[in-house]
Structures are given as structure tokens and as C-alpha cells.
């Protein structure tokens, strides 16, 4: 087990290096001169050639590509991701608060999504084909089908303007979380509870359920066993879900004026703030790798069978 853990963790590094190289390489493929972009991003009304030369030198753009990459990589190891073209501030100072804001939203939503998905998944599985199962499933269809942008506007109109219960936007109080978290939850629960339901249903036909029932185990206990076995698939799905939400909150952040990673990344892309885009992609890539590894390790703990051979 310990050996496996170490191996899995060791494999993370080469993947991160590959991600970092691809990120750097792709951004450098862009046909634009970063010095010019920097000057445009800083709103300088008229950009002269002298100014461009001066900026190129400051940025160290005259080094060969591979040298630039290694310099950048070495800096990254020390958590120095360069400085933003637009503000001139260290990238980390820009990304950190945004990342934390989005993380708050993501973590809170994920917990609710996991809880609600398991609840609905179990209810639907044990009532397969009955009214409750059908109504939950059709309701989820309707909700997934609604674009979150539209649903969000509708909910702000109803709960903030008409009922005057919640703020329309921003993150000034705990109440501010209610609407964005609900919208994120609605768009993901509909997918994830199905995963639980399906895997519970496939487990229902397993021998251990049959024998459990035959030996007179109470139905509640059987459900618990079912759940534990069905969770494996779900854990992988959920662990992939967290980075997906992390990178997928753009629309929600835009409409709720949430100062998070989504708004920052879109803004940076529009202004071509390369250092921020690079770090954003790297961060997101890293979180996919980390959560993937995490889900493997959790499954390993839950299911001894998977540990065989290590």
C-alpha cells in the first residue's frame, strides 16, 4: 500500500512537467509579440517601436525558447509564476485570491452535490421504476436542460428582486453563496446521482446481495453494503468533478459577479495576459492530476482487491 502510494505520487511529477511544457509551448506559438501585448494591456494609447524594444529587453524575450522555458520552470518550482502583463503584480498575488474564492464555491458545492447525489441515487435505486424514481429522473432532465446562465438570471429575479431575500450578486455575506451554489449543484447533481443509481442497480444483481437477503440481513444493512460497493465508481467521478467545477464556473462567476478564477481567466485571455493564462492552465492541470491520484488512493483504501499486485 505504502509502496503504491509512493509510486502514484512519483508519477505525478513527470505529468506536471509535461503539462507545464505544453502550456508554455502553446502560449509561445501565439503570433503576437508579448512586449506589444503587455503595452496594449497596460492601456498605453500609442505604442512606439522604442517602447517595444525596451519592453522586450525587460521581459527577457531575447533568450531562446528552451532557455525561457527552463527559467520559467525553475521559477515555478519556487512558486514564482512571473508578473502579470496588465498589473505588473506577481501572478500568484493575482491568482491566489481568485483561486480561493472559486475554491470556496467549489468545495461547498461539491459537498452538497455528493450528499444530494448519494441521497437521490439511493432513493431512486431502491425504488427503481416507481413514481419517485421516475419523477426525480425527469425533474433532473428538466434542470440539466436549462442553461445555467438563464436559470441564474431567473433565480436572481425571483429570490433577490421579487422576494427580496438574497443579494443579487457579489460575495459580501454568507447569503451570497446560496444562489451560485444552488445553480452549480443543480447542474451537476442531475448527472452524478445517475452514476450512483446505475452502479447501485448493477450491484443489486450481485451474489452478495442475494446471499445477504437469504441469510436474513435487514434491508438497511444490505443497502449500506450496496452503497459502499457503488461508491467506488462514484469516487472517481466526483474526484474528477471537483476540478471540472473549478474550471467550469466562468458563467456562474460572470453572472454573480464572483471574483474568482473563471472571471480572472476570461479577462486574462481577452487581454492576452500570458503569465496569468499559463499559471491558470498549469494550476487546473495540476488539480486534475492531484484529484485523480486522490481518487485512486481512496479507492485503494476502500477496496483491498485493487491493492493486489502492488
Amino acid at each position: 500500500m505504502a509502496l503504491y502510494t509512493i509510486r502514484r505520487l512519483a508519477a505525478v511529477f513527470p505529468i506536471l512537467i509535461i503539462i507545464s511544457f505544453l502550456t508554455f509551448f502553446l502560449i509561445n506559438l501565439s503570433p503576437f509579440n508579448p512586449a506589444e501585448i503587455l503595452l496594449q494591456a497596460r492601456g498605453i494609447p500609442v505604442i512606439t517601436d522604442d517602447l517595444i524594444l525596451q519592453t522586450e529587453e525587460e521581459l527577457g524575450l531575447n533568450d531562446p525558447f528552451i532557455v525561457q522555458y527552463f527559467n520559467w520552470l525553475m521559477d515555478c518550482f519556487q512558486l514564482n509564476f512571473g508578473t502579470s502583463y496588465v498589473t505588473g503584480e506577481p501572478v500568484w498575488n493575482e491568482i491566489k485570491p481568485a483561486f480561493i474564492n472559486t475554491l470556496k464555491l467549489t468545495v461547498l458545492s461539491s459537498f452538497i452535490i455528493v450528499g444530494l447525489s448519494i441521497l437521490l441515487g439511493v432513493i431512486c435505486a431502491i425504488n427503481e421504476g416507481k413514481f419517485i424514481d421516475k419523477s426525480v429522473r425527469s425533474m433532473s432532465f428538466v434542470l440539466i436542460g436549462m442553461p445555467s446562465y438563464w436559470l441564474a438570471s431567473l433565480m436572481i429575479w425571483y429570490f433577490s428582486v421579487e422576494l427580496d431575500l438574497l443579494p443579487t450578486s457579489g460575495m459580501s455575506s454568507a447569503e451570497s453563496y446560496i444562489l451560485p451554489v444552488s445553480i452549480i449543484t443543480v447542474s451537476y447533481v442531475g448527472i452524478y446521482f445517475r452514476v450512483i443509481r446505475t452502479s447501485m442497480l448493477s450491484n443489486l444483481n450481485e451474489d452478495y446481495v442475494f446471499y445477504g437477503r437469504a441469510s436474513g440481513l435487514p434491508e438497511k444493512k444490505i443497502t449500506l453494503h450496496l452503497l459502499r460497493n457503488s461508491l467506488q465508481v462514484s469516487i472517481s467521478v466526483f474526484c474528477m468533478g471537483i476540478p471540472t467545477i473549478l474550471g467550469g464556473t466562468v458563467v456562474i462567476e460572470n453572472i454573480f459577479a464572483w471574483p474568482g478564477l473563471g472571471s480572472l481567466s476570461v479577462d486574462s485571455i481577452l487581454k492576452r495576459d500570458f503569465p496569468i493564462i499559463q499559471t491558470y492552465v498549469l494550476l487546473l492541470g495540476a488539480s486534475f492530476v492531484v484529484f485523480n491520484t486522490l481518487s485512486d488512493l481512496i479507492n485503494m483504501t476502500l477496496n483491498p482487491k485493487l491493492r493486489k499486485g502492488f
Binding site: 503576437f32 506589444e36 501585448i37 496594449q40 494591456a41 497596460r42 492601456g43 498605453i44 494609447p45 500609442v46 505604442i47 512606439t48 522604442d50 517602447l51 525596451q54 496588465v86 498589473t87 505588473g88 485570491p97 481568485a98 413514481f131 419517485i132 419523477s135 438570471s153 436572481i156 429575479w157 425571483y158 433577490s160 428582486v161 421579487e162 422576494l163 427580496d164 443579494p167 443579487t168 450578486s169 457579489g170 460575495m171 459580501s172 460572470n254 453572472i255 454573480f256 459577479a257 471574483p259 472571471s263 480572472l264 479577462d267 481577452l270 487581454k271 492576452r272
Partner: protein, 536 residues
């Protein structure tokens, strides 16, 4: 059995919500009637407020920082400088400063502070090359505590109006300087203006409170909050709820809510919509130096000019918020009241011009040809501005009827700037600099490669044009200046290298009981200090 209960409960909740929605129609407005505050929304953060650089939001910088002189409808007026004197040769400007002004941090505003600020700007002159004055200041001298002298390398008539722009010649407390300057950032934002920046939550909100020591009278509106709301839908709902109560056209000339929403707000009786006079011109810049394109021909450019129905654009697309434009600069711009050939909407004239120029329309084909080439033209616009797209589509359709195949492409503003600079375009949606900067900024941009050089270079008398532009900036004689502007504006008008569409301005949505909503000579700022709530 208990599922039935759940279903019943949910139905009950649904009914309650629906009932509540029906009944709560007019509760919303009663709330947020905060008498002495204004909260406005904008799509981005106020940014770095450093008044000597360009990333900050001008409307925010404008209430915190001030200039020596102010550009008003009646011309240049005193602001931080009480009076000034221009030497005979036009090279020395001597300003007498007000002696009752203090920076927000208590530091006195005096000649020394003026020198430090102007020196800090000049230290970074390359960045300010758009403002010609930055290339001409040779020295700033302190004469006595409240007298300061600015020396220029040559006479330059727009000096005072360039000193009046929101940036860069504005004044920051020298205590906020970093390493003795401002080009590498500043430690604070203490200006002399009517409002003090008291709180800034990045990407969320900024709070400006009235400066109780303000030399020009303490503002009535005690607190102005700038809130970041990127999405127009939310902005509209926040206005309805009263979380924000003010809105104005942003620095890209875009409004975050559409005209229907504004009308709905006005109709509710809680808001008023106020529009300024024309401040800038939305236009199509034509790349006359593009050798491979049919638009190098004046006739084709003129035909496009005649083919555009500006009245419909103004009334149907822009709902009357902008007026049809017949000239590059509107007549209320200084020196721009020039007699120019009328070119209205006249599709027949457009066809005639094209026929005469040899662009023939064959039966059955929709596109005119000349010497085997089709009349294809490409038009670039800013994809983030919804009104531009609609206009581009409308123009595309109008030109189709003339036998011109117009391809329209929306790109982000950075790409548009790249095209403008490299000359990689045929037609480009753009606008003039605006009231406070014109005519000089728009005209001097004719010679600037990152602005409109490609548009003017293909004119047959371009060398003469550039000579006149050089002259007009340094002439001290007012009449001669007028006659040079007459020539310049006539030349570009006759060659149709800038095809005007509409005159734009600022639109403000404000609480119904707010008074004194005035405008400045610029579409980038608003005088919040003059506004006041009506007594009830």
C-alpha cells in the same frame, strides 16, 4: 406513504413561492433609498489608480485626481491653477496655483508638488507619446511657493487642453511616490479631487467618500460606490432591487444594459435616463493604402458612404441614443464647424458612382466586377460590442443591394488594434478620441502608425496633408489654425477615408430624484461632485 408527504410538501412550497411572487411587486423599491449615496456598476475593477499610467478606470481617477486647468464647453478654465500666462513665443507657460488646496493625506498642494508630478510623468515620456506635450516639455521650474513654470521645446497650441486630460498630467501626493517617481507603481492614491478612495476590494467594489476639505465646495453626494458587475442581466436586476442605483456608458462606449431595459427602468418611475451631447463619432476607417483592395479607389469609398442608411441605424438599431453622423467630427468640436460636401443616404448615387468607376453588375450575379475581380470588401468590428455587430450586419445587407460583397468579421479589441497597426484590414469599425481630445488627437492620429496612418497614406495628397497636420499643431495664430483645420478636414472628407456612422455620447441611468446630472467635455468621466438629491 411518506413519499406522498414529500410530494405534497413540495407542491405546497411551490404554491407559497408563486403567491409571494405575485404579491411582492412593489416592495423592492421602498428599500435602498439612501439619500446621500450613489452606487454604480461597471464591468471591470477600477484597477491600478496610478494617475500617471493607463490601467486605471478613468471615471474613478477623474473624481480623485485633478488637473491644473479644466476643459469646459466655454474653453479652458482654471482648476488647480488660478491663472496662467503664456510667453510671446509660446514656449513658456507660467501657472499661478491656488493656495487653499491640500492632498487627501494633508500634504499641501504647491509648486514643488506640481514639479515632482510633472517630472515623474516626463521620466516615463515614451509611454505618453500619444500626448504630444510629453515630447515637448523640457523643464518644469518652481518660481515660488505657488508659481510654477513649464518650458517647451517649441510653441505648441494644444498645451492647455492636453494639460486638462484625465491623465497623465494629474497630481498625486508626493508621499505616495515610489522610489521618487510613479512609473514603477505608487504607494497610495491621494489626489486633490472631490472624492477620496477609502476602500477597495479588488474585483468587487471601491468606495469613494466626499472630501470634506474640498476647495471647490464639499459634494452633496457623500458616498459613491463602484461595484463590479460583469453581466448586464445582473446589472439590470440589481438596479431593480436597488442594490445599485446609477449606471453610465463605460470607457469603451458600451452600455451594460440594453435600450429596452433602460426604457423599462425609466417607465417604472424610479429612474431617469439622461443623455449627453455628441462627444465622439463612431465610424468606419478605410485602409486607403491597401494596394490589393477595391477600396483604394475613392469612388468605392464614396459609394459605401452613400449606401449606409444612418437614420435607420440611429433609430432602429440604437433606439435614438446616437445621432446620424455626416462628418468625421461633429460641429460642436472646436475648429470642426467646417463646410463639407453633404453625403446623405443615396443608394442610386452609390450605384452610379460604382458604374462610372467601371464596377459593372452583370445580370444574374449579385456582385459587381471590374477586370475580372469581384467587389469583395472585409469589415472588422469589436466582437465584444453587441451594437457593432448589428450595425455591421445591417451595413452588409445594404451593400449587398449595391452589388458589394461585404464580409464582416468580429474580433477582440486587441486583435483589432493589431490590424490597425499592421494595416491588415480594409474597413475597420472605430471611433474618434472624443470632445476633450479633439480635434488635435484624432487629427494627429492620422500620422500615427498605430492609429490611422494606413487610412490616410493612400490619399493622393497625403504628403500635403501630413505637412498641414505638422503645421497646425505648432501655429500660434488662431485664424491660421482654423484655415489649416478647414483644409485637413476637407481633404479627408473629400477622399472619404473615414466614413462616419453616428455621433455617440454618454448615457446615464440615475435615481429619479437626482439633480444636476451634468457631463464633462469627455465621455470617460462624470462630475459626481455636482450631483444632488432633490429635497422631498
Amino acid at each position: 406513504m411518506h413519499y406522498k408527504k414529500i410530494t405534497q410538501l413540495s407542491l405546497l412550497l411551490l404554491t407559497i413561492f408563486t403567491l409571494a411572487a405575485c404579491s411582492s411587486g412593489d416592495d423592492a423599491k421602498a428599500e435602498n433609498e439612501n439619500e446621500n449615496e450613489l452606487t454604480y456598476a461597471m464591468t471591470k475593477d477600477i484597477g491600478d489608480m496610478n494617475p500617471h499610467l493607463y490601467t486605471g478606470y478613468m471615471a474613478a481617477q477623474g473624481v480623485v485626481f485633478e488637473t491644473l486647468v479644466e476643459n469646459t464647453e466655454e474653453g479652458i478654465k482654471p482648476s488647480l491653477a488660478e491663472s496662467w500666462d503664456i510667453s510671446e513665443n509660446g514656449k513658456v507657460y507660467t501657472f499661478t496655483l491656488r493656495d487653499d488646496v491640500k492632498f487627501h493625506d494633508g500634504e499641501p498642494f504647491n509648486a514643488e508638488a506640481v514639479k515632482k508630478n510633472i517630472d515623474a510623468v516626463q521620466e516615463n515620456a515614451e509611454v505618453h507619446s500619444w500626448i504630444q506635450l510629453s515630447q515637448k516639455i523640457t523643464e518644469t521650474k518652481v518660481i515660488d511657493e505657488y508659481t510654477v513654470e513649464i518650458n517647451l521645446s517649441e510653441a505648441y497650441y494644444p498645451t492647455l487642453s492636453e494639460l486638462s486630460t484625465t491623465r497623465p498630467y494629474t497630481f498625486l501626493s508626493p508621499n505616495d511616490f515610489k522610489d521618487g517617481g510613479t512609473k514603477n507603481g505608487v504607494n497610495g492614491y491621494n489626489g486633490t479631487g472631490p472624492y477620496i478612495l477609502t476602500e477597495h476590494k479588488k474585483e468587487e467594489a471601491a468606495v469613494f467618500e466626499a472630501n470634506e476639505q474640498y476647495w471647490n465646495g464639499v459634494p452633496d453626494v457623500k458616498k459613491v460606490t463602484s461595484k463590479v458587475l460583469p453581466s448586464g442581466e445582473t446589472t439590470f436586476l440589481a438596479l431593480k432591487k436597488g442594490e445599485i442605483n446609477f449606471l453610465f456608458t463605460d470607457d469603451r462606449g458600451a452600455n451594460s444594459i440594453d435600450y429596452e431595459s433602460m426604457e423599462a427602468l425609466e417607465a417604472s418611475g424610479e429612474y431617469q435616463v439622461v443623455r449627453s451631447k455628441p462627444m465622439d463619432t463612431k465610424l468606419i476607417a478605410v485602409n486607403s493604402s491597401n494596394e490589393d483592395s477595391p477600396i483604394r479607389e475613392t469612388a468605392v469609398r464614396e459609394a459605401i458612404w452613400y449606401a449606409i442608411d444612418r437614420k435607420t441605424i440611429s433609430e432602429s438599431i440604437l433606439n435614438g441614443t446616437e445621432q446620424p453622423a455626416g462628418t468625421l467630427l461633429s460641429k460642436n468640436i472646436p475648429y470642426a464647424d467646417v463646410d463639407l460636401k453633404e453625403r446623405g443616404y443615396d443608394p442610386e448615387m452609390a450605384m452610379e458612382l460604382l458604374d462610372k468607376a467601371g464596377w459593372k453588375l452583370d445580370e444574374g450575379s449579385g456582385v459587381r466586377t471590374k477586370e475580372g475581380n469581384d467587389l469583395n470588401v472585409t469589415f472588422y468590428y469589436d466582437s465584444n460590442a453587441p451594437a457593432q455587430k448589428t450595425q455591421a450586419e445591417f451595413i452588409q445587407d445594404s451593400l449587398k443591394n449595391m452589388g458589394i460583397n461585404l464580409e464582416i468579421i468580429g474580433e477582440d479589441s486587441t486583435s483589432i488594434a493589431d490590424r490597425r497597426k499592421s494595416g491588415n484590414y480594409e474597413l475597420l469599425y472605430t471611433r474618434t478620441w472624443g470632445l476633450a481630445y479633439d480635434p488635435e488627437s484624432t487629427i494627429s492620429a492620422f500620422t500615427d502608425v498605430s492609429y490611422n496612418l494606413h487610412s490616410t497614406k493612400g490619399m493622393k495628397n497625403s504628403d500635403e496633408l501630413y505637412k498641414k497636420i505638422d503645421e497646425v499643431m505648432v501655429t500660434v495664430d488662431k485664424e491660421e489654425r482654423q484655415s489649416l483645420y478647414d483644409d485637413i478636414l476637407t481633404m479627408v472628407h473629400d477622399e472619404a477615408v473615414f466614413i462616419p456612422i453616428t455621433y455617440g455620447g454618454m448615457t446615464v441611468v440615475a435615481p429619479e430624484n437626482l439633480e444636476n446630472i451634468n457631463f464633462k467635455q469627455t465621455q470617460y468621466e462624470l462630475p459626481f461632485e455636482e450631483m444632488a438629491y432633490r429635497e422631498k
